[in-house]
């Protein structure tokens, strides 16, 4: 029995006369890693930008846990449990790793800044919860050992892991990973693959956009394939690998 966490229903996006995305529908279930693949210009980034709220859809619906979110701002979606990472590491270099991940918790803080200063007990309880979330996010991303390191001195790959950890600290239900492996070398990709598995096992649904097919085939439970702004296939990695249309459009015979 699966529960749908994020439902995408008939999503369309036009830029002037150009239809960047036509009628995309899929769902992300609980404890699922969903891959979104396709050639360059097929509409993957447009999709993730609409899911996160960076750009409004031309038409279509988006439901997070049954609640429609397509009209909400990005930060409101983060507060509801829909977060993302970016293709390049978007981090603040002068914090320590731990402080940085702590910032991610702020998205979910329920005690107002004024109450923060006065209502000590409730506030302490929330701070304790935040500490736990930070520890969990560090553990999931394998950064526990680097918790006191200054962000600026981390490697490029570690900064990307930190971006994931910071997003996880907002206790998301769904995390959108936009090309998380871009520029990574093979052992870093392996670390990432293990991380994505652990995130799913922690009960968080993952949508991953990626060009590295071995990684996609390894970590995804299901895959959606886009071509020229339209979905051409959905299915398990094995089904996608054998799908004629996908082979012709994107994978080629080698995979």
């Amino acid at each position: 029995m699966h529960t749908d966490v994020l439902e995408v229903d008939g999503l369309c996006k036009s830029f002037g006369g150009v239809k960047a995305l036509r009628d995309l529908s899929f769902t992300i279930r609980q404890n699922e890693v969903l891959g979104l693949i396709g050639p360059n210009g097929s509409g993957k980034s447009t999709t993730v930008n609409m899911l996160s709220g960076a750009m409004p859809p031309t038409s279509g619906q988006l439901r997070l846990g049954g609640v429609r979110v397509e009209g909400l701002n990005q930060w409101d979606r983060v507060a509801m449990g829909l977060t993302r990472t970016y293709q390049t590491a978007s981090v603040f270099p002068e914090f320590t790793v731990r402080e940085h991940v702590m910032l991610g918790c702020e998205a979910r803080r329920t005690v107002s800044p004024v109450a923060h200063a006065f209502r000590l007990r409730r506030n302490r309880a929330e701070d304790r919860q935040m500490q736990e979330r930070v520890d969990q996010a560090l553990e999931l991303t394998g950064l526990t050992g680097d918790r006191d390191t200054i962000v600026g001195v981390l490697s490029a790959a570690q900064q990307r892991f930190l971006m994931i950890a910071t997003a996880l600290a907002s206790s998301p239900r769904v995390i959108l990973l936009d090309e998380p492996a871009a520029g990574m070398i093979s052992h870093e990709r392996e670390t990432l693959a293990g991380m994505i598995g652990r995130i799913r096992d922690a009960g968080i649904s993952v949508l991953v956009i990626e060009h590295h097919m071995a990684l996609i085939m390894e970590v995804c439970d299901r895959i959606v394939v886009l071509n020229f702004g339209a979905p051409i296939a959905q299915g398990t990695p094995a089904e996608i690998r054998g799908n004629r249309a996908v082979i012709d459009a994107y994978l080629g015979e080698a995979v």
Partner: protein
């Protein structure tokens, strides 16, 4: 020696005004990357409004200044919403053109509402203190104290409050700030409200220390940008140090060389600093 000290004190007063103008420009630049040229003219509007309320309608000066500050905040919010937000995602040249157009509009509005006459805000602060041969007019002392208080308040706000930290986060990395749940559409409104209020405070200081007339605001904004470049673009400590350095240099130049050359010498110092430290005094390399 006494004379040098005297000029330094004079310079600190005008430097405080430069700092307030530059702080307003630097937080706007830091968040939106906009060179907000209309800032000086808006500041002068604040000075004019204070004069209009206090001198022409007999409203107590403190109340008049408070009304001008609040009006300034509202005006700042409107400027962001109506002038800059629509060109937010467009090419930077568009915001540049909007800024120039806004400058002309505000200058025109000032002329229309308050006339072309030079005005001085009457403060009634006429006492002169003398400390070891250095004279310090009461008004100049108040300006220095008020500027110091505003600079301190601004620093505490930006460093210590959640909103201030959110402003810095957005300035540094808008995308990362969104992931922390920061409302990045609200931040520019707060920034413009604060920036314009600081500008109005500077306008009131100029109007009471010197005089306000058409064109004064435009001159002031040029000085403000000079301070930004001197101190380091987007840096708050840089605006404070740069403003004081520019004010004191001008005063020393006026006192020991010639007041006709004070601007020239101030800009020569700026060029010299930039030759040695292109990132500005407090800027990051």
């Amino acid at each position: 020696m006494t004379e040098i000290l005297q000029q330094i004190i004079n310079g600190i007063a005008i430097g405080g005004v430069y700092v307030l103008i530059a702080l307003g420009l630097t937080i706007v630049f830091g968040i939106l990357g906009i060179a907000h040229f209309a800032h000086g003219s808006v500041s002068m509007f604040g000075g004019y409004l204070t004069f209009f309320l206090a001198a022409q309608h007999g409203i107590p000066l403190a109340l008049a200044i408070t009304i001008a500050l609040i009006t300034g905040m509202v005006l700042g919010v409107l400027i962001e919403l109506l002038a800059y937000r629509p060109v937010r995602h467009a090419n930077h040249i568009n915001a540049f053109i909007v800024a120039l157009g806004l400058t002309m509009m505000v200058e025109g509005a000032n002329l229309q509402f308050f006339g072309a006459e030079q005005i001085v805000i009457p403060t009634g602060a006429t006492r002169v203190f003398s400390i070891g041969g250095v004279t310090l007019p009461e008004l100049r002392l108040y300006v220095i104290l008020a500027a110091a208080a505003l600079i301190a308040a601004m620093t505490i706000f930006v460093e210590k409050t959640k909103t201030g930290q959110a402003i810095r986060a957005v300035a540094e990395n808008r995308d990362a700030a969104i992931l922390m749940g920061i409302n990045v559409q609200m931040i520019p409104l707060v920034v413009f409200a604060i920036s314009t209020a600081l500008g109005v405070a500077a306008g009131v200081m100029v109007g009471s220390l010197f005089a306000i007339a058409p064109g004064v605001g435009e001159g002031l904004v040029v000085k403000g940008f000079a301070v930004l470049i001197l101190g380091g673009l987007g840096s708050i400590p840089g605006a404070v140090v740069g403003g004081i350095v520019l004010g004191v240099t001008e005063a020393l130049a006026a006192g020991f060389i010639s007041s006709a050359y004070k601007d020239v010498i101030a800009f020569v110092v700026m060029i010299a600093v930039l030759l040695l430290r292109p990132q500005g005094l407090m800027g990051r390399a």
